[in-house]
Symmetry: C2
Subunit: 128 residues, 2 copies
């Protein structure tokens, strides 16, 4: 399954625009091949896009996403750099854990609101 994807094929699959994919390319997140001037995306690119979108959904900036990608591509070799990276990772992790707590709380809150809605509907006498 090492087929090639066109840009619109991917925009449809992921619900994003061509502008977005080119923007990510300009930002150095993607490097699709070219046949002439036309972009051709491989499976690896597809995976990268999934990661990028996942990062985007949880509020990472392009710069942060690029940083993670780059770490995968070439992890730092020097011990100072490695330690710094680990510190940054720890911070990010705390961030994400806080976010997860926020989400739990908000989910509970939404449950409560919905409950109240149902009660209200019952009062009004509407069958759900």
């Amino acid at each position: 399954m090492n087929r090639l994807y066109s840009i619109t094929e991917l925009t449809r699959e992921f619900g994003i625009s061509t502008r977005t994919l080119r923007f990510y390319e300009d930002e150095g997140l993607l490097h699709p091949e070219r046949r002439g001037r036309t972009r051709l995306y491989r499976t690896a690119d597809r995976h990268l896009i999934q990661q990028i979108l996942r990062g985007r959904r949880i509020g990472f900036t392009i710069a942060e996403i690029r940083e993670i990608i780059n770490v995968y591509k070439e992890p730092p070799g020097e011990s100072g750099q490695l330690k710094l990276l680990m510190k940054r990772i720890d911070e990010k992790r705390d961030d994400l854990r806080q976010k997860r707590r926020d989400i739990e709380e908000t989910l509970t809150e939404l449950d409560n609101i919905e409950e109240a809605c149902l009660t209200r509907l019952a009062e009004i006498g509407v069958s759900t």
Copy 2:
């Protein structure tokens, strides 16, 4: 404990700027009292700010936060409105669940990267 808070007191507590609090007020999220021209925040306002910041952390827009606040203030009385609201809530919930999955995955990923860092450090021969 129904004391009053000044604007800077709250900015310090929450690590935000006065600009931000005034902005939230302009956006109709907060309505602190006034003594003369000076804003005075009550405990209820403090709680609201916490909710606002929580919403912000998980990526809600001001409009979405305002919407939630307003639902609390005056839940819709008409059945059509209620049903619409419930639909919106369901969507938001799906959103948040997706986000939670994204966070879990990313946390795992960060663990892996950190692991790799530790391995690398050991190779280099640095004692952590």
